[in-house]
Symmetry: C2
Subunit: 345 residues, 2 copies
DNA sequence: CTGAAAGCGCTAACAG
DNA sequence: CTGTTAGCGCTTTCAG
């Protein structure tokens, strides 16, 4: 069917091995012969078969990215950073959506190993069987985690400073006079979101704020909507809400609107991620910014480095900075004018 | 290094080929022997090498999706539909972002061919070299296009009824009294967006509306922002704007806000796609809904079918329905109250 | 610098 | 039902 290297070799009247050398560009080949082979290849419209090459070299020039859902704009941004880095190095990127489902994640990991991808970037699901995890480490397949990672997981990690982000949110809210606060935390056991919660709560505690309602749920638009509905009902007197990510915050805004609660007049909301559309919601969302594209790019470059090095490397851990972006979703309770206005309204 | 089928065969004291049959689950194997092989495989923690298998079977169980940018929420939705369909069939999905750059798209297509992916789903870039295109068709590699496609391209296509969507937008605006209209069309030569423009303009013409300003640019947030700025300056008297997609519309809203133009009071805006966050902007965006997830899923299933069938099939063309979703970004100029209000304002 | 030969790990006729 | 024998298309020693 397709023309093979053998055809090219015959056409150029050289041995298969010489054709191989010429085509893959290794040094020791006579310039004339090489040109002859290349010409023959062009004439026959030759396309090297990477599968065959992969079988002998043991490298596929392919990496995989396992995330929960590409529809979350945060991950879209990460994926783009990852793909750009992969593309720059002539690698391809396999995209996997796990929905945080351990079974689905496991399926991906196994399938990817069988396909001999050169490396994997993923959010470790806490519930990934420790035995499988150990097997993965032992297999020597380069893996970069997009979360802080269990201290000893043995993998490299790249993630934003979630704890600090959580603290920033707490500080911001408390500085503006909020004392009865809600927190939409997302799924239990999620490492990144969990750190945000941890940082948020500890900063709150340090500031003597004890009245905080934490609720868990899915870290999606509808999850945010549902958590907000529930919390708004069980604790109607809260004045501010910290959402573990922007998409949750969007769901929260929607829930507030439907409940006739004005944002930020009656309820202040802080998100996390600083997704592009955070600037476009009504009101625009104040949120913790993290470098999403860089996260994907950095993780991929780290992975690519490990692959190139070949040998088992000592894990490296990168922590990327965060900052608060102030927009219009929070009210300052300490500003007299605003306070008076609200009391009278 | 990794344990191979040969190891398993030795461990189970059978021939390599028998081990192969047992592992790949072909019928003619004694139940006892099969169990013995499977046990050995488990004991040795055997992982079949799909690369090797791929070399002999000629199938990689991998398909690719080439889009312009995964950060466009429309494509994130499409990609998820595609990945779910692939996952359901035990295929993997390689994600490629072309930015509509012909060189980058070409690079992907060649690289994917060399990697022997089983099929490709993509937005054909008009400027993809016709010769390359022909070569692709001739190669017999299954391809599904996410756009109407040049009549004769020889590929299957799956896309929304863009023309009808454009007509819907025109009708809606005209019915509400708009006569001086702008259109942010996106990049020249883009097939999907081009059809929207075509449908929009022809419906406008049929209704006797001649005063329409069309402007081209990138089909991104910043592209929308820039096109809107330019158009708002050159034709400040327009009362409505049809944006070729939602992301453009978001940029348009931002431009209007910055120019002190109120939406929808002074400027009505209609988008296209009905991206999830269209409901959350201020004001919420009225837009043409298209089934994004289904698009990706349907395209993938079509592709998978072609792959399974093996032989070259006659191209199939699927056109998915659209509908207008009315939200808050358009004003009805024919409503007396509103009109009076605006005149006095 | 080039050719000969071996083999990557697996499947697929073909005999027995 | 199982073993024998060829490869899939390519890289990579090893000689010459």
């Amino acid at each position: 069917m397709a023309t093979t290297l053998k055809d090219v070799a015959e056409e150029a009247r050289v041995d298969l091995s010489t054709a191989s050398r010429a085509v893959s560009g290794v040094p020791g080949v006579n310039a004339k012969t090489r040109e002859r082979v290349l010409a023959a290849a062009r004439r026959l419209n030759y396309r090297p078969n990477r599968v065959a090459r992969g079988l002998v070299t043991g490298r596929t020039h392919t990496v995989a990215l396992i995330i929960s859902d590409i529809r979350n704009p945060f991950f879209a941004e990460v994926a783009r950073g990852a793909e750009d880095a992969a593309y720059a190095a002539s690698f391809d990127l396999i995209l996997c959506n796990s929905d945080l489902n351990p079974a689905r994640q496991l399926h991906y990991v196994e399938s990817l190993c069988e396909k001999r991808v050169d490396g994997i970037i993923m959010n470790s699901v806490a519930s990934l069987d420790p035995e499988v995890n150990a097997g993965l480490v032992e297999s020597g397949l380069p893996v970069v985690l997009l979360n802080p990672g269990a201290s000893d997981s043995g993998f490299s990690t790249v993630c934003a400073d979630n704890t600090r982000g959580g603290r920033l949110a707490a500080q911001y809210l408390v500085d503006r006079g909020h004392r009865r606060i809600g927190h939409l935390a997302g799924p239990r056991g999620h490492m990144n979101l969990g750190q945000r919660t941890k940082g948020f709560l500890s900063a709150l505690r340090e500031r003597g704020v004890a009245d905080v309602n934490v609720i868990h749920g899915e870290h999606s638009f509808s999850g945010g909507y549902e958590m907000a509905k529930a919390l708004l009902k069980s604790a109607p007197d809260i004045t501010a809400m910290f959402c573990a990510n922007d998409v949750i915050a969007f769901g929260c805004i929607r829930a507030a609107i439907e409940s006739g609660i004005e944002v930020p007049e009656e309820l202040s909301i802080v998100g996390f991620d600083d997704v592009q559309l955070a600037a476009l919601t009504s009101p625009p969302l104040s949120t913790i910014h993290q470098p999403k594209y860089d996260l994907g790019q950095s993780a991929t470059n780290l992975l690519l480095g490990a692959i190139a090095r070949g040998a088992r490397n000592t894990p490296e851990h990168r922590l990327l900075g965060v900052r608060l972006v102030e927009r219009g979703s929070c009210r300052d309770l300490l500003t007299i004018g605003a306070a008076a206005l609200s009391k009278s309204g």
